[in-house]
């Protein structure tokens, strides 16, 4: 006969959470690295954005660089362009992701090949995707050559400008391609966990196909869709490499504008570049906090994300 200790039957979900100090000790090493590298860099950036630049002879803290960029029409143009590209690519990716998730959930769960193919863009770096978009969509790119060969255009100059263009189509295509799998997988996880069961309930409760989409699927996936979209928005708002490769020279997206200022030969332009970076970080932080808030609210209501 085996004797079970009193604690041996404690479920992992009901096991008591370690106290505050225990947690700090357990997570201390990891937290220290994050605090020094990430927090240190952020603090240094904040100081520089406030004009603390001893190498250039500027040591007094001031908000004049923030005031300067906020009053700069170029900054405003860049901000609007960045918001437009980040919001549009996020909305398009989210819309396509919902459709993709619904298609994938309808496929057999063992259809691993489809899922594998679908996940490939997740593993490819943004830089590679930006290069691929440039290779495909530039006026001398693959698409242009195919269209030319088919006789649809008379010269490559007739091919519409899809990269380095004023509407940021190339940038958005790169982001949409890259982010669809991420949002789709977030939605799929919810649909698989509770969504399918709720759909069966809905069916027996007389909900038709469109009613199930409207009243069950969309409310069920909304928290994860919104959270994933906010994360994607935050990323596209602050990412540098794709707009650097595929964006136009004026106006630039904010991260490129910040980089340009930061790497200016005039050291005194650096605080403005850093201040732009701080504003980008602020927007990103707000988006992440909102995403977390949504996730937690959904968990409280019993929706598993």
């Amino acid at each position: 006969m085996t004797v079970k200790s009193e604690n041996s039957g404690v479920d992992a979900r009901t096991r008591p959470v370690p106290g505050g100090w225990v947690l700090v000790r357990l997570m201390g090493p990891a937290l220290t690295i994050v605090a020094v590298l990430f927090g240190g860099g952020l603090t240094l950036g904040l100081l520089q954005s406030l004009g603390h630049l001893p190498a250039a002879g500027a040591g007094v803290l001031t908000v004049k660089h923030f005031v300067a960029i906020l009053g700069d029409p170029d900054f405003l143009h860049s901000l609007l362009l960045t918001l437009y590209i980040a919001a549009t690519s996020t909305v398009v990716a989210a819309g396509i992701s919902v459709v993709m998730a619904l298609i994938l959930i309808g496929l057999a769960p063992r259809n691993r090949v489809v899922h594998f193919i679908f996940q490939i863009p997740l593993t490819v770096p943004h830089l590679v995707i930006a290069a691929a978009v440039a290779f495909m969509l530039s006026p001398t790119g693959l698409c242009s050559r195919v269209v030319l060969k088919l006789g649809l255009i008379s010269s490559s100059a007739d091919f519409p400008l899809l990269i380095n263009d004023r509407w940021g189509i190339g940038i958005m295509l790169a982001y949409v391609w890259k982010e669809i799998p991420f949002i789709t997988l977030m939605i799929l996880a919810v649909l698989r966990h509770t969504g399918m069961e709720l759909l069966e309930v809905g069916q027996t409760l007389k909900a038709g196909r469109w009613q199930r989409l409207r009243y069950i699927i969309l409310p069920t996936i909304f928290p994860s869709l919104a959270a994933a979209s906010l994360i994607v928005f935050a990323y596209t708002f602050g990412a540098f490499e794709v707009p650097f490769l595929l964006g136009q020279t004026y106006p630039m997206m904010l991260p490129v504008w910040a980089y340009k200022n930061y790497s200016d030969v005039d050291l005194l332009a650096r605080p403005e570049g850093i201040a732009t970076g701080m504003l980008i970080a602020l927007v990103v932080a707000i988006a992440i906090v909102l995403a977390q808030g949504l996730s937690q609210a959904a968990r409280r209501r019993g929706i598993v994300l």
Binding site: L198, Q203, T204, L205, K206
Partner: protein, 353 residues
């Protein structure tokens, strides 16, 4: 009005047969339990009735009409699942009124109907409560209310009590019985708990390994099981073999009269006696001698394993003063012996369970 007929239903999952040649008739206003162990195919049958699974063969009729080609939303059957599966983004009232809203019922009538059902399911006052604020029992009651509000011809209950603790289970069982008696809604109730099935239903249908083995009133299944497998499911542990000769079942533990209608003569048959029907005594008043192998005290009764020659009998007795190794005598009351008909499953099959 609600009459459900399942004719020769066959269902496969991934090529494997899950339900085979299943026939069942649930009469108007009746509560029938579909009883069986886990994996027997009970939920599969229920889902087939609801329209969530399409049988490979067979026909499902509700009120005389075949619903085979109707999607779940067009069938007059509503299912309550094992988990409450409430919509987490709706409050109690919205959950209960979901089906009415989908059917496009006028708001005023819907509200009145929801209030009636909330009162019936003892959920009055919780209309605007968020579902995650409810207890497990309340959540399952909301789930039941959500189905009842639609007044379906057939109510399908898929082990709705299995996630509740013992007290809540009892309360909920009584509530379901009360509501069923009040509304006379035709109900097919899936459970793996034999006590629950016997207590709650007008008739019980036992499903083993995807096949319907016996349908009847609770007492019939308990006291007159169709074959040894059914008997074993209902707790029978004592099986003896004997040969029928001139209307008598002759075994090494006695001779018992064969019920009328048995035509077998010279055949080997199987008989059973329930543990609680066996008599045991340390004195020599009974005819069969044995030795106690093991004792389990179970509170109101004591379970004793007694070896008599090559057979081990299980006895359930209210007396507790026995001990392992003790020599005892047992008695098989003839009126408690159940001899299985010749066409019932062979004894060897029981051992496979």
């Amino acid at each position: 009005m609600g009459e459900l007929i399942l004719k020769n239903i066959n269902i496969r999952y991934g090529g494997e047969p899950v339900v085979r040649d299943f026939n069942l008739e649930v009469r108007n206003g009746e509560m029938v339990s579909l009883l069986g162990p886990s994996g027997a195919g009970k939920t599969t049958v229920l889902k087939a009735v609801a329209g969530l699974i399409r049988p490979e063969r067979g026909e499902i009729l509700i009120d005389g009409y075949s619903v085979q080609d109707l999607p779940p939303e067009k069938r007059d059957a509503v299912m309550v699942f094992q988990k409450p599966l409430l919509f987490p983004f709706m409050n109690v009232m919205q959950n209960v009124g979901f089906g009415l809203r989908m059917r496009g019922e006028p708001v005023r009538e819907a509200r009145q109907r929801i209030q009636e059902i909330l009162a019936l399911t003892q959920l009055g006052g919780l209309e605007y409560r968020k579902v995650h604020e409810l207890s497990g029992g309340q959540q399952q009651r909301v789930s039941l209310a959500r189905a009842l509000v639609l007044k379906p011809a057939i109510l399908l209950l898929d082990e709705p009590l299995s996630n509740l603790d013992a007290n809540l289970r009892q309360q909920m069982r009584e509530l379901i019985q009360e509501i069923q008696a009040q509304t006379r809604i035709t109900t097919l109730f899936v459970t793996h708990d034999q006590a629950e099935a016997l207590m709650i239903s007008h008739r019980v249908s036992l499903l083993l390994n995807g096949r319907l083995r016996q349908v009847g009133k609770p007492r019939e299944l308990f006291y007159r099981p169709a074959d040894p497998e059914v008997a074993r499911f209902f707790g029978a542990r004592n099986f003896i073999q004997g040969r029928v000769k001139d209307g008598w079942f002759q075994s090494e533990f006695g001779t018992f009269q064969v019920p009328q209608g048995f035509t077998a003569n010279g055949d080997w048959l199987t008989a059973t006696i329930r543990p609680e029907d066996l008599r045991v005594s340390p004195d020599s008043q009974f005819e069969i001698q044995g030795e106690i192998q093991k004792i389990n005290f179970e509170g109101s009764a004591t379970r004793i394993w007694v070896r008599c020659r090559t057979t081990e009998f299980v006895v359930l007795t209210s007396e507790a003063d026995f001990f392992p190794g003790q020599n005892v005598r047992i008695h098989l009351p003839p009126d408690k012996i159940r001899i299985f008909p010749p066409d019932s499953k062979e004894f060897e099959k029981i051992e496979e369970i």
